[in-house]
């Protein structure tokens, strides 16, 4: 598949339009926001369906338990904020009000990762996937691009149960064309290869495709899997990749413990031990800077993926 890399868009741009489509299609949705609705994009629902949109001010804990109350009485509820605030600022509400009773609440967190940029460490969620994926029954999705984000939000809105969907702030390459069909819980193979597999989520999928292209020039053949659904993990795709290529690189804009890389490593250790190199953030917090500078500094780009592939090939048995 050839990536349509010319186009760029932020995954958060999918949120407002998809909410409107869900409401137009007759789904009984309600969206709650916590004073960041212009940035998440959720505010777009207000103009079209004002009765289905509420802002609760900067009170994330209150928002999450309110969302649970609406969901308990039959609504499909989206609760949106930045990824540092949901689930970071209201983890116990997510755990007790949403996850334990299994209520139909969709947490949509924009501004994931260090690519938030200039706002610095407090605003840069690099531990949100650890929190979300720790909760039994929580489906966690990190879409690769705006096309997949729209479909993941639609899927969440039409599938019962708690969801965590992580979106991003900057405009990143669009990987998919409109013909793409997102399948919840299934890895999507974007590129075939036999020497190693890169398993990525979010905009690291585009970076992985770029890295694979460069590596191909040097005679290294790399499979690229988009693992948008972190929980439940497509373990079958992970194990097939390990069996068929013998070396794995994971790539995500998150701490290496607790996110995609941790899930993949755990799955492999339990079933088919294979060398793994993780692209991610290690033992530190973010800082201020332009988002593209930060990604380069943290090695969360094609160069970082390429180096990780070279490392894992050295370890390959």
């Amino acid at each position: 598949m050839t990536p349509a890399a010319a186009r760029v868009a932020a995954t958060r741009e999918a949120f407002g339009p998809t909410l409107i489509r869900l409401a137009e299609a007759g789904h009984d949705i309600v969206t709650l926001e916590a004073d960041l609705s212009a940035s998440t994009g959720g505010r777009q629902l207000k103009a079209a369906f004002p009765e289905r949109w509420y802002t609760v001010g900067a009170s994330e804990a209150n928002m999450i338990s309110m969302a649970a109350g609406l969901a308990a009485d039959g609504k499909t509820v989206f609760a949106a904020s930045f990824a540092v605030f949901v689930p970071g600022h209201c983890f116990d509400q997510v755990r007790m009000s949403v996850a334990q009773p299994g209520l139909n609440v969709k947490l949509v967190a924009s501004h994931g990762g260090v690519s938030v940029g200039e706002d610095g460490a407090s605003a840069q969620a690099i531990e949100d996937l650890s929190l979300a994926t720790a909760l039994p029954g929580m489906t966690s999705v990190v879409p690769a691009d705006v096309v997949e984000a729209a479909q993941a939000i639609w899927t969440a809105g039409t599938t019962a149960g708690p969801f965590y969907i992580r979106l991003g702030r900057p405009k990143v390459p669009v990987v998919y064309g409109d013909e793409y069909r997102f399948a919840l819980g299934r890895a999507h193979r974007l590129r075939e290869g036999g020497d190693a597999t890169v398993i990525a989520c979010g905009h690291l999928v585009a970076a992985a495709l770029e890295a694979a292209e460069r590596l191909a020039a040097g005679g290294v053949s790399v499979r690229v899997l988009n693992m948008a659904t972190i929980t439940p993990l497509d373990e079958e795709a992970v194990i097939s990749a390990a069996r068929e290529t013998g070396a794995i690189v994971t790539a995500e804009e998150h701490l290496v413990q607790g996110g995609l890389g941790a899930a993949v490593t755990r799955a492999l250790a339990a079933t088919y031990p294979t060398p793994v190199e993780q692209v991610g953030v290690r033992d530190r917090y973010g800082e201020s800077g332009r988002w593209d500078q930060l990604l380069e500094r943290f090695g969360l780009d094609a160069g970082g993926v390429e180096e990780a592939v070279q490392r894992v090939l050295q370890r390959k048995i």
Binding site: A61, A68, A72, G74, Q93, M96, P101
Partner: protein, 276 residues
């Protein structure tokens, strides 16, 4: 307004008290003190004609919702739900035992009649706001009743919800504060003083009613009638109560009876004091 408390209601309250001490004695754990303080509040709601419910249809959309935000007070809730007919009182001795639906802290739908999970404090009022908005969207006139502990008012989320409920003018929400002046670590005065709770809620835009004796059904029932008539604002009833009410050794030492069950001898004494 004249309300006459029937002897039946008092007899029901007495049965609920007996269940509470028996359940916590059988479990050798649980929270008798803050359950006994709320007996009359729940008796008024469930048996005094305040709450609209049907045990045969726990999911009836038109029902009023009672949300136990102080989720450790499961003994009083389970005793009331059993007496109301949601399930058999035979189930009560299984409280907190492995495999029992009667969990230590509330779990939504376990057993039927339990509206929401709780146990971490402070979340119930926000949940009620969500339910009030859902009712408004669906054109239902269901009311929401939320029981808060006074220790629970330490939680910041309660005050986020207090702002929110007033902002959204959710006038079908009535919160009740079980004002027993004790929390897990000791008396309110030593842990975190609350000062005037009614004035705090009024400052947040609520209609607040003070009930001087939260164990007197003749005071509670008019308070519920007053709050139900309020339009445009959420309401709160501050019910002055006694932690461990009805059991002398618990009343004398409430801090010791927040979270433990009585011994067989203590149970016998408690049942003697509560009466048949």
């Amino acid at each position: 307004m004249t309300v006459s408390t029937t002897p039946d209601l008092q007899a029901t309250a007495q049965r609920i008290r007996r269940h509470i001490v028996e359940m916590t004695a059988a479990a050798q754990s649980g929270h008798p003190g803050g359950s006994l303080s709320a007996v009359e509040i729940l008796t008024a709601l469930y048996f005094g004609g305040v709450l609209r419910y049907d045990p045969a249809r726990p999911d009836w959309p038109q029902r009023d919702r009672f949300v136990l935000s102080k989720g450790h007070a499961t003994p009083v809730l389970y005793a009331v739900l059993a007496e109301a007919g949601y399930f058999s009182t035979d189930l009560l001795p299984t409280f907190r035992k492995l495999g029992s639906p009667l969990q230590g802290h509330t779990v939504r739908g376990k057993p039927s009649g339990v509206e929401m999970s709780a146990g971490a404090l402070g979340m119930g009022l926000s949940f009620c706001i969500g339910q009030a908005l859902a009712a408004r969207l669906d054109g239902r006139d269901s009311r929401l009743y939320c029981l808060l502990g006074d220790g629970e008012l330490n939680e910041g989320q309660v005050w986020e919800a207090a702002l929110s409920a007033a902002h959204f003018e959710t006038d079908r929400i009535t919160a009740i504060v079980d004002r027993n002046h004790f929390q897990n670590d000791g008396p309110e005065g030593e842990i975190l003083r609350l000062w005037d709770v009614a004035e705090k809620f009024r400052a947040f835009g609520w209609h607040a009613v003070q009930v001087e004796d939260g164990h007197d059904l003749d005071q509670l029932l008019p308070a519920f009638a007053e709050t139900a008539a309020v339009r445009g604002r959420p309401q709160v009833i501050i019910a002055e109560t006694t932690k461990g009410k009805g059991v002398s050794y618990m009343e004398a030492n409430p801090a010791a009876w927040h979270g433990k069950g009585p011994s067989p001898e203590q149970l016998a004494q408690a049942l003697e004091e509560i009466g048949p």
